[in-house]
């Protein structure tokens, strides 16, 4: 890797974006790359928007990704995909979990959840894939493993060997939950044809 | 600033230095266009050294007196006269109350220095020693020593006596006014007697 790979993970507080980014960075570190990561996690616990920026390369300085610079974007929720889509490169890859989490303004009737987000995004982005991560995770054994499903999807687009991802899962996930997370990861991988 | 009079009052916390300088400042305020006075009074209550700067005239900017320019230095205690003596101009007037208040000791015991009067005389200042504290005790209240000192000072400044008396009446609590006025007059008399002695001994 002579250049830097920029990955953006976006979602809603509580969806596990931070754990996912930890797995991703562990994969990169194990492969000998330098990683810079930044997140703003204050509002995460309270259902606010969460963004994690991961930069991987041989020599990484800034931890911050600018709009139009993300090679990959993994969106854990539709509206968040829409909100951050301008960060993606023209030929970048957008992975969207189709889950909708209704934000407060919509709940109190002050706004409406936008329609046709997926159609919009598909039209704008060169490499687009959406999936029902929640359903796949549920089938693997627990809806909380949605984040690992999405990592499975991402792993198919990135250049790291699959074993590296599996090792990162073993290192990062408590033993008794490993089985279900491996299943979740595999179902994510299977989504990419 | 040609016609500015520079006065310093110094002594030990609790001796009435700041009260005296306030009275002097108030008198000057009635008579002069501009008066500036300043002190650092934090340690006054706790037996530390106290110095008050006072300047008055047509136009006064800085409240602090420059070293070597003071017209009059009034020391309520001997050691303080030496500590602040360098503020006095060559040949300036030094009024010294002739008591010695031992400083609080830090570390090794240091005796109260001797030869103070000889030393300040050797500097070429005009020295007037007054027994203000002794006289105040004779009057029945050692605390009026500061007013005796003010009386002696007033004899060396050209401000009307009525102004002094008016301010003393205003500033001092009513039941203490009489004894303080008396003390003030005693101070004037002491200064005038000394002047007469000086003249007659020529």
């Amino acid at each position: 890797m002579s250049k830097i790979i920029n990955i953006l993970l976006v979602g809603v507080g509580g969806q596990g974006t931070i754990l996912a980014s930890k797995i991703l960075t562990n994969v990169a570190l194990a492969q000998g790359y330098e990683v810079k990561m930044s997140e703003i996690h204050g509002m995460a616990q309270r259902g606010g928007s969460v963004v994690t920026q991961v930069r991987i390369g041989e020599d990484v300085h800034s931890p911050v990704i600018e709009p139009g610079e993300a090679d990959y974007m993994v969106a854990f929720e539709q509206l968040e995909a829409y909100r951050w889509s301008h960060f993606l490169k023209k030929d970048g890859v957008l992975i969207v979990n189709t889950q909708k989490i209704v934000p407060l303004p919509v709940l109190i009737g002050a706004a409406t959840y936008p329609e046709n987000i997926l159609v919009e995004l598909k039209g704008r982005v060169e490499h687009f894939i959406n999936l029902d991560g929640l359903k796949l995770a549920s089938e693997a054994g627990n809806v909380k493993a949605t984040n690992v499903v999405l990592m499975g999807v991402l792993s198919k687009y990135m250049d790291f060997p699959e074993d590296a991802w599996k090792n990162a899962l073993v290192a990062g996930i408590p033993a008794k939950l490993l089985d279900l997370n491996m299943k979740a990861f595999a179902s994510g991988v299977a989504e990419v044809k | 600033m040609s016609n500015v009079t520079n006065v310093l009052l110094c002594g030990v916390g609790g001796q009435g230095v700041l009260l005296a300088s306030e009275v002097l400042a108030l008198v000057a305020a009635e008579e002069k266009a501009q008066v500036k006075q300043t002190e650092v009074h934090g340690v006054a209550q706790r037996g530390g050294s106290v110095v008050s700067h006072l300047r008055f005239g047509d136009q006064v900017y800085s409240p602090t007196v420059r070293t070597g320019t003071g017209d009059i230095l009034i020391a309520f205690e001997r050691l303080e006269a030496v500590r602040y003596g360098h503020y006095l101009k060559p040949g300036g007037l030094m009024l010294i109350n002739d008591i010695e208040v031992m400083p609080g000791q830090i570390g090794e015991y240091q005796p109260y220095p001797t030869g103070i009067i000889e030393f300040v005389q050797s500097k070429g200042f005009q020295i007037q020693e007054i027994s203000a504290t002794a006289q105040a005790k004779a009057l029945g209240n050692p605390k009026v020593s500061s007013l005796i000192i003010l009386g002696a000072l007033s004899a060396n400044l050209d401000m009307p006596q009525q102004a002094w008396e008016r301010i003393i009446r205003k500033r001092i609590p009513p039941k203490l006014v009489d004894i303080n006025l008396k003390a003030f007059k005693v101070g004037i008399e002491m200064a005038q007697a000394r002047a007469q002695v000086a003249v007659s001994s020529v």
Binding site: - | A29, T38, V40, G47, G48, P63, G68, Y87, Q110, F119
Partner: protein, 582 residues
């Protein structure tokens, strides 16, 4: 002294500030005692039309004044400069929202550290908070500038920092009095969440603050009270505050740009001024606050901290020395042994009793800010650290955590209320063993004996229930609490010993008032006297460091200053010291 409109009278800077607040129509003033600001609130409180109060600490004072300002009335908050460190949290955020009624914060700095623990230059606070700052140079300005400060505050809805210094606050000068602005009693706060709930709306409020400050910077460019006094010759001076008065003494012919508003600076006015002279001197005490800003604009014909000191206050002598190499008259200490006269704990001070017992215990004693700080000096030498208000308790726990055994913290009653309570809570919560000795002398002593929540009276003389320190400490979870009489050395020492040996947090509270506490001066006192027949001249009574016990070969007691506390008698092993008349 009566005060009438139009009257010209001699006034101290702080009294003039108080008068200025009165004339500016201030409705409420809060603060905490601290040299050189204390007199401001004391004098202001004498005006019964103004609600004035000592608050528990400067942050509380600030928050209260904020509330008054937000209700639409003019509010004043006064403190010593380090007090702004305490209030800084609110001070830094309030400008984001702005104010409704005029809001002025007074910071009284102490260049030269006559009565302070450090020499920080509080002008930076104005810059840090993005608010304007005004600085008087003498008592007349100290009065007049309050009105100006409130006008600016309300014109731009901004807090204003009014910065004074020891020399301006504690100097007297002639002041002409003015009228009090009419004060209405209507309130005007509108519940507008996006303006007043700053943490959530900070981003948009910051943009507003920046725009507001740009407008203030423009306004200041032609501010009439920043004035140029044209002189003869090729030298210019830019100055403010007390330094202006020294400049006028030493450089009477120079052209002077006197700044009233010292932040933001009038950039074009300054650049134009500097262009007219070969050399411009920036005469400012402490940091190169003004000089640095001017240099950034590319002005190079300046001289400032290359010749003037960065520490200590200025004086005409110092200016003459730096500018012309004129040496001031040296004091006579080279030629004569002028022994020092340090301040000490007063005769009859209860802290002396506590310290004698602590010294005997051999504990490491962490200390705090107050009269009792003097207990660190010889001959007591019984307090070993001191930094800032309320620090002693946390420090003591820290020493314990660091592995040092036998540590006790001393803290005054006012200081404990100011900032010691959370620290004591923490010792209980985090499982410490620390001993805390609250030196309760029923007053805020060092600053001139002000009242506080545990003395039973407010600043404006209202009798109120006393904060019960014993029960407060128990309610915080401290199980071992003991009240001890510092004038009973045996009992005091036992209380400290028990506290140090107790497993778990312990508090000892002393119970003798300061000799200057309310009501104490009038109490009749019987002095002690030394029987020279019994006296062996061992010096033990002198070693307690009481000014009432005169030094010398034969000790004697000064019966004018002796208050009869009996500590010297207890130090005597020969029963040579007894009450007069016994």
């Amino acid at each position: 002294m009566t005060q009438e409109v139009g009257q010209r009278m001699l006034m101290a800077g702080n009294n003039a500030i108080a008068r200025g607040a009165y004339e500016a129509g201030v409705y409420f003033a809060s603060g905490y005692p601290g040299t050189p600001s204390t007199e401001i609130l004391e004098v202001l409180s004498q005006h019964r039309e103004i609600k004035a109060q000592w608050s528990a600490n400067e942050k509380v004072a600030f928050d209260e004044a904020m509330g008054v300002a937000m209700s639409g009335k003019r509010a004043l908050c006064s403190m010593k400069y380090v007090g702004l460190n305490v209030a800084a949290d609110s001070f830094m955020v309030f400008p984001f929202a702005g104010t409704i009624g005029g809001f002025v914060v007074i910071s009284a700095d102490d260049p030269g550290m006559y009565s302070s623990q450090n020499e920080q230059d509080n002008r930076y606070f104005a810059r840090l908070a993005e608010i304007p700052m005004i600085e008087p140079s003498d008592p007349q300005e100290a009065k007049d500038y309050l009105k100006l400060a409130y006008e600016i505050s309300e014109k731009f809805s901004t807090p204003v920092l009014f910065r004074t210094s020891m020399r301006v606050s504690h100097s007297k000068g002639m002041v002409t009095l003015g009228e009090r602005v009419k004060v209405g009693d209507s309130t005007s706060f509108v519940k507008d969440v996006p303006n007043w709930v700053v943490p959530i709306f900070a981003k948009s409020l910051k943009a507003k603050l920046d725009a507001k400050f740009a407008a203030i910077t423009d306004y200041v460019e032609t501010y009439e009270y920043n004035r140029i006094e044209k002189g003869t010759g090729k030298i210019g001076v830019i100055t403010s505050g007390a330094s202006y008065t020294y400049t006028k003494e030493i450089l009477p012919e120079a052209s002077v740009l006197k700044l009233a508003i010292t932040y933001p600076l009038p950039k074009q006015m300054i650049i134009d001024f500097c262009a007219q002279y070969d050399k411009v001197y920036i005469i400012e005490e402490l940091d190169s606050f003004i000089e640095d800003q001017i240099r950034v604009w590319g002005v190079t014909n300046l001289s400032g901290k290359d010749i003037f000191p960065r520490t200590g206050e200025f004086s005409p002598d110092i200016l003459a020395k730096c500018l012309f190499n004129e040496q001031p008259m040296q004091d006579f200490s080279n030629e004569f042994n002028i022994i020092s006269r340090p301040p000490q704990l007063c005769p009859g001070c209860p802290h002396r009793g506590a310290y004698l017992a602590l010294k005997k215990s051999g504990a490491l004693v962490t200390g705090d800010i107050g009269c009792y700080t003097l207990g660190s000096l010889p001959p007591l030498g019984a307090m070993h650290t001191s930094f800032a208000m309320g620090t002693s308790i946390g420090n003591a726990f820290g020493f314990e955590l660091g592995g040092i055994s036998k540590v006790a913290a001393v803290i005054g009653d006012a200081t404990f209320i100011h900032g010691g309570i959370p620290s004591l809570i923490d010792i209980v919560y985090n499982g410490g063993n620390t001993t805390v000795v609250i030196l309760d002398n029923s007053t805020t002593g060092m600053t001139g004996h002000q009242e506080h929540p545990a003395t039973g009276q407010t600043l404006q003389g209202k009798e109120v229930p006393k904060l019960d320190l014993v029960n407060l400490v128990k309610a915080l979870g401290v199980k071992h609490v003991q009240v001890a009489d510092p004038f009973d050395q045996k009992a005091m020492y036992q209380a400290i010993k028990d506290a140090l040996e107790h497993e778990g947090p312990s508090v000892v509270i002393t119970n003798r008032p300061c000799i200057f506490a309310r009501g104490e001066k009038q109490r009749p006192k019987t002095p002690y006297v030394i029987d020279i027949d019994k006296c062996t001249q061992c010096g033990a009574c002198q070693r307690i460091g009481c000014p009432g016990v005169l030094p010398g070969e034969q000790a004697a007691i000064d019966d004018v200053s002796c208050t009869g506390c009996s500590l010297c008698a207890q130090a005597c092993k020969f029963d040579a010291i007894n009450l007069k008349g016994e």
